[in-house]
């Protein structure tokens, strides 16, 4: 078996790269075989058989999970809390097939700071990694180094998972949203006073009569998007200064199609691309509010009285990228990335670990084009970008195996 694993590891891409990563790499999270930061795109060492099949990558604190179109799962990076699901606590610097799921078909994955979750096509939820804050939903606070099925959901059908730093959100087929893990900032909904965490899933109520399309989490933030494009946010304050333990409908004038959360900012795609919050995204430009390409909108929340005077209370339009349409977005803790309809990748925000992939460690306030070094023509449908805390991954899935 050891031999088979070794063969699999050797069976890596030899031809032109189709997946890349850059940024913080000291835990092996770049999946390029090393344990160093890289400021420029590096080939991500997926096994050859993954070519053209990677449909999604979830980036955590320092680990990542890749999902293929036919339900296989690969993990790499920091494994100190068992979050890679291989039954040990080792860091692994290249994508490794999670053998536990050989006989399952996984349809959704998410990565928190040090925990991982996997939903199967039959609606089961498996978790592994750090459970200190109850974020595994196991009823205890122990870590697990092999995926286990969360008993609470055995009679329910899980369709989506989204994990923040220390909390987990789960969307069921029946449209209900559950949360577990840290409750300190309201990120898993309304909790009893002094209850710092829940290690058993609890229903997050407060959504109006709507069909939830997707859920999002990062840091201590939580968000959901309904099918009409209405955005709901709760948890640590992104708008105003007060945390919210009930999902708040925000920006009713926007019909959003995608959302990406960071630790102090969020990206909202609604035809145009907007950011909420700031930190490194605007730090270098104090006059950003008066500059031409930025356009502000009021959040105009319906039921809650937010502090609208706060500078964080507005959406800021991201300067357009050569007039191209933005088709995919992703957010790390303090950096952002997008893919245009022409398949070009842009990054901006915090760059200290090279997570912008521009060859340096500078911060950027506006999107900058990343030179992937991929000369082949590619369409927007095939290129996608994903972020972990301090790293970025790009996959061109349009290239089927030869």
């Amino acid at each position: 078996m050891e031999k088979a694993a070794a063969v699999e590891e050797e069976e890596q891409e030899e031809g032109a790269a189709w997946a890349w990563s850059w940024g913080a790499g000291t835990d092996g999270q770049l999946g390029n075989g090393g344990f160093q930061d890289h400021h420029l795109p590096q080939p991500l060492l997926f096994p050859l058989r993954c070519r053209g099949r990677v449909s999604f990558v979830a980036g955590g604190g320092a680990h990542a999970i890749a999902l293929t179109g036919d339900g296989e799962v690969f993990t790499w990076g920091r494994g100190t809390h068992g979050q890679l699901g291989h039954g040990d606590m080792e860091n692994i610097p290249h994508p490794k097939f999670v053998k536990f799921f050989e006989n399952y078909s996984i349809t959704c994955v998410s990565a928190g700071w040090n925990h991982s979750g996997f939903a199967t096509d039959s609606g089961q939820l498996f978790m592994c990694g750090d459970g200190s804050f109850g974020q595994l939903g196991a009823g205890d606070n122990h870590p697990r180094n092999l995926p286990f099925e969360v008993a609470y959901f055995t009679t329910k059908h899980v369709v989506r998972v989204a994990f923040g730093m220390r909390h987990s959100l789960v969307l069921l087929k029946d449209n209900s949203v559950y949360g577990f893990g840290s409750a300190r900032r309201g990120q898993i909904g309304r909790c009893a006073r002094n209850q710092k965490f829940y290690n058993v899933p609890k229903l997050i109520d407060g959504f109006p009569n709507c069909k939830i399309g997707n859920i999002y989490a990062n840091g201590d933030h939580s968000a959901a998007l309904d099918e009409s494009g209405q955005l709901y946010i709760w948890g640590r304050a992104l708008i105003g200064e007060h945390d919210d333990d009930r999902p708040q409908p925000v920006f009713p004038s926007l019909s959003s199609s995608q959302v990406a959360l960071g630790w102090h900012h969020a990206l909202v795609l609604s035809g145009e691309l907007y950011t909420i919050g700031a930190y490194r995204h605007q730090k270098l430009d104090p006059h950003v509010s008066s500059s031409e390409p930025m356009q502000r909108l009021n959040p105009a929340t319906s039921s809650h009285d937010h502090d609208d005077s706060s500078s964080l209370s507005t959406l800021v339009k991201v300067p357009c990228v050569d007039g191209d349409q933005v088709v995919h977005i992703a957010a790390g803790t303090e950096h952002s990335a997008l893919v245009t309809d022409k398949g070009a990748v842009f990054t901006w925000g915090w760059g200290e670990h090279g997570q912008l992939g521009l060859g340096d460690t500078c911060d950027q306030v506006a999107p900058q084009r990343v030179n992937i070094g991929d000369k082949r023509p590619c369409s927007s449908a095939s290129v996608n970008v994903y972020c972990g805390s301090g790293f970025t991954v790009v996959v061109n899935s349009g290239l089927a195996a030869d």
Binding site: T26, R144, N145, T333, G388
Partner: protein, 134 residues
């Protein structure tokens, strides 16, 4: 003769009073300078604290930090993927900055003296062992 004596006495009085006044003024000035210096130092401390608070990545309560026995420090996730760290000894010295060993970011730690006394008497609980689920 009496007139001369009175004049001399008066002159002496004026002289000694002036000297006394001068000394008082000098002492007053010295006190003022000391106070000014103290105020400046205070202002500098305030300024440093303000700058630290303004440039700190975040402000985190100690109860949200995790005790890491291996590092001998309280830790909190850093956005780079590593951990902000501050030792119990540093906290007891009044240090309130937790730094990340991998990057330039730091956070300010919010705590009460009593929390530290508690920490001394009640050693932080060890991390639970991983459970392998077959």
């Amino acid at each position: 003769m009496i007139f001369l004596f009175i004049t001399c006495h008066l002159a002496f009085c004026i002289y000694s009073q002036t000297r006394f006044a001068c000394a008082r003024v000098r002492r007053g000035a010295r006190v003022l300078l000391v106070r000014l210096a103290r105020a400046r130092r205070g202002a500098r401390v305030l300024l440093v604290r303000l700058v630290v608070e303004m440039s700190a990545y975040d402000e985190v309560e100690i109860e949200d930090m995790e005790w890491n026995a291996e590092l001998g420090a309280y830790t909190y996730p850093c956005p780079c993927g590593d951990l902000f760290q501050i030792t119990l000894a540093d906290l007891r010295l009044g240090e309130e900055i937790a730094r990340c060993p991998s990057c330039s970011l730091f956070i300010t730690v919010v705590y009460n003296e009593e929390d530290l006394v508690d920490a001394k008497e009640r050693p932080p609980k060890p991390a639970p062992r991983p459970v392998a689920v077959a």
